[in-house]
């Protein structure tokens, strides 16, 4: 029988198995964020031309480890914790199959450790993408496969918990929107893991000498089904966190359940097609395949993101206006708790993800525009705009709520926590921007020496390119400091945090029925208009349109290709 405790802050019934699994997965995630983040700092310091810290072999080793540990391991461990939270806890249910949950945890940990050892040994510096025919040691692939099976088991526990909760009627009606977002993330995760298995299993056999050849193009098509989709898990999970924070801090209700859930449905159907973003300048794939897939079928997943971009701040605006912050367009926004890291991190995540990650991703995911961005450092610039200042920042923000709540402890450094989202968000946001700037000048990604000092024939980048790579280094140092403060705060809170004094009932404890009576029965936000959010959304759209066409203009100036 499952045992439960009641959360003093929220009134949620918490299954002790879920409690423990969430904690272990989240803490492990943070450890990998530390390891992967340190490698990232080394990479940024090496690409800073005036510093050029590491030697070439160590640089490629650090870059491989950086990609694996943060893009994959940190993200997936944290997401597994979120899956257990959004299923067992938000549905007031027991966690199904806790033993499988532990098996999943240990497989992920052992798999990640095996691959890390292979990389650190120095014979598997093949980058996160491990394109053949460049071969890593066999345990590099084996570790990832073990990790992937573990993650798949974690998804199984999540889906089984949904089933159990429904069967045991632990909730009425539909699942909460946040849980629905988590379902979206889990569905994408299953596709991600299957694609990974389809291609990495033969690649592992090849590294063992059992297969003689892996077709490089086939590998890239299927591998990116995993590589890109794994980042789409983050997007879905991060947007769930946005909705959750709006609900927790503001009692905000989605403007419309129907619209937000349909936006998630567009993700389920189309988001994963964007794996084609990586194959737009590859041979042998037709323009039809490229255009259809890269555009997520008519940009329907982008439509989904643009909807979330309106409804999350919209829900906050509606809630704030209901409280009386009605002056002008933006009083609701200025009266937000900007010194609360849960809010500040989330707000920055929404804005930076949209402006830096979102717009750049759509631009370079356009079939022809990819010609002027492919494999330049613009690409890492883009995904630091999504996975770092979007997902990682959102996960940090919600950790400031989850960790004190689940552990029932006070933050150890509340003063630092106020500044941390800004330090990290702005630091990494600048890093992403400088990388994109350098990429526009053609600076390559995954490259040890852009001065080509030991090359037979050289190429001189304009001074601006070197300057931007230097500024990227400075910004990355700032961001790393932000990440370090976050990690210290979390680890410190868990280890030495003072026990929380039972607080008076938090707003989130309010029963849904009570909230319902406050609003009209139709439309979760009542009939509240959200003019401020609408204006912000229009500003976003105008920036998007301008940036998009500026790049077409740039493309039209290069050599003719047909």
């Amino acid at each position: 029988m499952a045992e439960f405790r009641t959360c003093p802050d929220t009134g949620f019934k918490i299954d002790l198995n879920a409690d423990k699994l969430i904690k272990w997965n989240a803490v492990t995630a943070v450890v990998f964020l530390l390891v992967g983040g340190l490698f990232g700092l080394l990479v940024a310091l090496t690409r800073w031309p005036a510093v050029h810290l590491l030697d070439a072999d160590l640089f490629y080793l650090a870059l491989t480890a950086h990609g694996l540990d943060v893009l994959l391991v940190w993200m997936i461990f944290f997401e597994i914790a979120l899956l257990y939270f959004t299923s067992a806890i938000l549905l007031n249910s027991r966690l199904a199959l806790p033993k499988v949950g532990w098996l999943a945890y240990w497989m992920m940990l052992v798999g990640a450790a095996i691959t890390n050892v292979a990389v650190l040994r120095g014979d598997s510096s093949v980058m996160f993408t491990s394109y053949p025919p460049m071969m890593a040691a066999q345990d590099f692939y084996m570790g990832i496969l073990i990790f992937a099976v573990g993650a798949l088991l974690g998804c199984l526990v999540f889906f089984a918990t949904l089933y159990v909760a429904k069967k045991e009627k632990t909730y009425e009606g539909s699942v909460p929107l946040v849980t629905f977002g988590a379902i979206t993330a889990a569905i994408i995760a299953v596709f991600t893991i299957l694609s990974g298995a389809i291609i990495l299993l033969p690649t592992w056999f090849w590294s063992l000498g059992l297969l003689s050849h892996i077709d490089t193009l086939m590998y890239r098509v299927i591998w990116w089904g995993m590589g890109h989709s794994s980042q789409q898990i983050n997007v879905a999970a991060q947007i769930s966190c946005w909705y959750a924070v709006a609900a927790i801090l503001f009692n905000a209700k989605p403007l419309s359940e129907k619209v937000s859930r349909t936006a998630f449905l567009l993700y389920i159907l189309f988001l994963q097609l964007a794996s084609a973003h990586h194959l737009l300048v590859d041979p042998a794939l037709s323009s039809e395949w490229k255009i259809f897939n890269t555009s997520y079928a008519l940009y329907l997943a982008v439509l989904g993101s643009m909807i979330h971009g309106l409804t999350v701040p919209g829900a906050v605006e509606a809630a704030q206006r209901k409280k009386g912050y009605n002056k002008g367009l933006f009083e609701w926004l200025t009266k937000c708790p900007w010194s609360n890291p849960v809010f500040a991190g989330t707000a920055l995540s929404v804005v930076l993800f949209g402006f830096l990650g979102g717009i750049s991703g759509v631009m370079m995911g356009t079939e022809q525009l990819n010609l002027i961005t492919h494999n330049t450092i613009y690409v890492p610039g883009h995904f630091h705009g999504t996975v770092v200042v979007g997902s990682t920042l959102a996960f940090m923000a919600i950790s400031y709520w989850i960790v004190p709540t689940l552990w029932q402890k006070e933050l150890v450094f509340p003063g630092l926590a106020k500044w941390q989202p800004y330090l990290f968000g702005i630091g990494m946001g600048l890093a992403a921007t400088f990388m994109m700037g350098a990429g526009t000048l053609g600076v390559p990604r995954r490259h040890w020496d852009m001065t080509f000092a030991d090359a037979a024939m050289g190429y001189d980048f304009p001074a601006a390119a070197n300057l931007m790579m230097g500024l990227n280094g400075v910004a990355a140092v700032m961001g790393s400091l932000g990440a370090l403060i976050f990690i210290l705060n979390m680890v410190g809170t868990i280890l030495w945090g003072k026990a929380k004094v039972p607080a008076p009932a938090a707003p989130a404890e309010e029963a849904p029925a009570a909230v319902a009576s406050a609003a009209t029965s139709h439309g979760s936000a009542g009939t509240m208009e959200v003019p401020g959010t609408f204006v912000l959304a229009l500003i976003f759209l105008v920036s998007f349109v301008l940036y998009y066409f500026v790049n077409w203009k740039y493309l039209s100036s290069v050599w003719g290709l047909s």
Binding site: A56, D57, M127, Y131, M134, E172, G173, P176, V178, D215, L217, Y243, A247, S256, E257, K258, L279, L280, P283, A284, L285, S287, I291, S295, L298, I307, T311, G314, V362, E367, N370, L371, I372, H374, N375, T376, L441, G442, P444, R446, H447, W448, D449, D454, A455, M457, G458, Y459, A513, V530, P531, F534, L541, L555, S556, V558, W559, G560, L561, S562
Partner: protein
């Protein structure tokens, strides 16, 4: 609230708030514009990557490139003595990527169109023409053919932007474009 089940048992029939409807409409129109930009550019734009590609064995491709280079070689360049090849305007141009060079150096004429062949003999490489910033993924075993029309003259660098091992950063080639 988003962390609780919806209040209404049937929420699908709830009316949608006006600014949401407007935003969805605008966003959808923008999505269509972006989608149709791609086929539109295929029709009117000057920068489209062709879909012509063939499977080819690396040694077969190497022979083709060498035969072509021998035929149209005009001089050698630099300490390595890498051949500079000047093919007839409008003809075929070959380039190959291998650890760690782009071979050979090519000399083209401004304003002329060429059928450009590209493949790798060993690992994957990234063909990056600078400062134009045109980037193409190069696979071993696949020959890609596209038409190139240089619209500016001078010396252009070709660097590798797909990680190809420890000498990756030394992989630099050249294309000269002579003015008419």
């Amino acid at each position: 609230m988003a962390i609780f089940p919806p209040e209404q048992r049937v929420w699908w029939n709830e009316p949608i708030e006006k600014s949401e409807v407007m935003w969805i409409t605008i966003a959808f129109i923008w999505a269509l514009v972006m989608f149709f930009m791609m086929p539109y550019w295929h029709i009117v734009g000057e920068q489209n990557l062709s879909n012509e590609a063939y499977k080819i064995k690396p040694d077969v491709y190497a022979e083709k490139v060498e035969a072509w280079a021998a035929k149209y070689k005009v001089r050698e360049e630099g300490d390595t003595g890498i051949p500079v090849v000047h093919p007839p305007a409008g003809g075929d141009v070959y380039m190959l990527g291998r650890l760690w060079e782009w071979w050979p150096v090519v000399e083209l004429e401004e304003g002329q169109s060429y059928r450009f062949h590209l493949s790798s003999l060993d690992w994957m490489h990234g063909w990056s023409l600078l400062p134009e910033n045109i980037n193409i993924q190069v696979h071993p075993g696949y020959e890609m053919i596209f038409t190139v029309k240089p619209t500016s003259s001078g010396e252009f660098g070709v660097i590798c932007n797909e990680f190809c091992g420890i000498g990756h950063h030394t992989m630099v080639g050249k294309i000269h474009v002579v003015a008419k």
